[in-house]
């Protein structure tokens, strides 16, 4: 009988790396989503064009290719990245592009009367956005953001291919050392699933929390 406890430790280490990647990737994705999403709604043509180019490029090419590009090609033009940095960069930029469309859609879904009310109250563009539009739009974005975060979690498995020791990588290590395939892969499938459930649960409770005080308002 193999010593599974030691191998379990290895897999849990991998789980930590996966969680770390997911968190950092999500933060980058969130930042990019707001930058690009608001960029697409900007008054200035240059900003709109830049944001559209970013979104179309990162949604149009595969996350896998982007990751390989970040890890193998960027060093050749003088940008040396560790596997973790490359992973966070590729994941964050990729998912950020998808989430940017969510931001745009949510902001556009806020009714005209809200914008008109902002003008009537003599709020500046930034004030109106900050105090009236975004708080409502954020609630619309949240559920889709949750889905995006789960997509990001699942995409982290790809970083195992650039030698970052995440869950999938550790499962391969365990498989190579024990010759048993079933146990490590079944274990990590369950871990991924539990993490995904945690994310959707977290987003749902955040949604309830944010919706407080917005009763009677649309949504």
């Amino acid at each position: 009988m193999t010593q599974w406890s030691g191998y379990l430790g290895l897999i849990l280490q991998g789980a930590l790396v996966t969680i770390e990647l997911t968190l950092m990737g999500s933060v980058l994705a969130l930042i990019m989503a707001f930058l690009a999403g608001m960029g697409r709604l900007s008054r200035f043509f240059v900003l709109r064009a830049l944001a559209t180019a970013y979104i179309e490029f990162f949604r149009g090419t595969s996350i896998f290719v982007q990751l390989f590009f970040a890890y193998f090609v960027l060093p050749l033009i003088g940008l040396e990245l560790t596997p973790l940095q490359a992973g966070v960069l590729a994941l964050g930029l990729n998912v950020g592009a998808y989430a940017a469309e969510v931001v745009r859609g949510a902001v556009q879904s806020i009714g005209r009367e809200q914008h008109e009310a902002c003008i009537a109250l003599n709020l500046g563009r930034w004030q109106g956005l900050r105090h009236v539009i975004l708080p409502q739009a954020f609630l619309v974005m949240l559920p889709t953001f949750g889905n995006n975060a789960i997509e990001l979690l699942k995409a982290t498995s790809v970083v195992s291919l650039i030698s970052l020791a995440d869950l999938t990588f550790q499962a391969q290590v365990v498989r190579a050392q024990t010759g048993n395939t079933m146990v490590p892969f079944a274990t990590i499938l369950v871990i991924y699933f539990v993490l995904a459930l945690l994310i959707s649960w977290g987003v749902r409770s955040l949604e309830r929390r944010m919706a407080r005080g917005l009763d009677g308002v649309r949504v």
Binding site: S62, V65, V73, L76, F185, Y192, F193, L197
Partner: protein
Amino acid sequence: MEWDWNFVWQIMPTLIQGVKITILATLLGSVLAAVVGLGIALARRSPNKALSRIVGWAAEFIRGTPLLVQLYFIFYVLPDIGILLPPLVAGVIGLGLHYGTYTAEVYRAGIDNVPRGQWEAAKACNLSARQTWTHIIIPQAIPPMIPALANYFIAMFKETPLLSAITVLELMNQAKSVANTYYRYIEPITLVGAFFLAISLCSVVLLRWLERRYGKIER
């Protein structure tokens, strides 16, 4: 390192080989996903509670775990129980199953969107369950689904590079082997990105057309 056009033309035939496999895998995977999705959607509507609950949970599990790990599972674990699959077949099954759980939701929404009056009218006309489905519900449910389904097939296309992890010789794997032979990464990986971007942009045009043609929901 400089961009070398001669090298680009030299590796182009190999990459085109890869593109063919990539497209083949996408097409086969799409067909499988369309069938699996319909199966899941119908099973979840089945009056048999146990069946619909089990299928629902299995679909949830497959959707919550990474495709890469599922591919490893199909390719490395199934041989242990005597099912030895060629890489491409394993890859297509993985893609089909994974995206089948997504298309199932599209079918569900499509079927739910058929107004209740249609079901009642079918009953009033004394149509059998089978006739109701084939003559009334499916013809009305399918067209609005087409853009959403196509969307998932494009997403699947962008996931095909994962098949390189289970030794399918598709575009990404061809590029990697070229890169490892000549030790030049810039051209192969960039070209892979360009191929994906080109095909994705074309498919976006197709998608817009599908949306215009079928996407209107009559109320």
